[in-house]
């Protein structure tokens, strides 16, 4: 059955843009946390 908004996922462009905003926030949060963890590990035992 074709999705009501005519897209494969069923999201409207507005919904997709809103979701992407929150997705990117979460992703950048993950990257920031990982960066901090790697900086701490580097201070403990550098790998190069």
């Amino acid at each position: 059955m074709a999705s009501e908004k005519g897209t494969l996922s069923g999201l409207s462009p507005q919904e997709a843009q809103e979701l992407h905003k929150y997705f990117m926030q979460g992703f950048l949060g993950f990257v920031a946390l990982t960066l901090v963890a790697h900086i701490l590990i580097w201070m403990w035992r550098p790998w190069f």
Partner: protein, 51 residues
């Protein structure tokens, strides 16, 4: 880039991404635990004292 959510159902995509990330992190931690340089953070005393 947001158009990706017009193609993939967000619920399945998020579950897939989280499962992949969890597996990746799990593997990475065990790989590090198996190395000589980093594999000691569980059994050595808190190495805060800088030698």
């Amino acid at each position: 880039m947001w158009r990706i959510w017009l193609l993939f159902d967000p619920r399945r995509a998020l579950i897939g991404i989280l499962a992949f990330a969890f597996a990746m992190v799990l593997v990475n931690h065990f790989v590090q635990l198996s190395t000589e340089r980093y594999g000691s953070w569980l059994n050595e005393p808190a190495a805060m004292s800088t030698q």
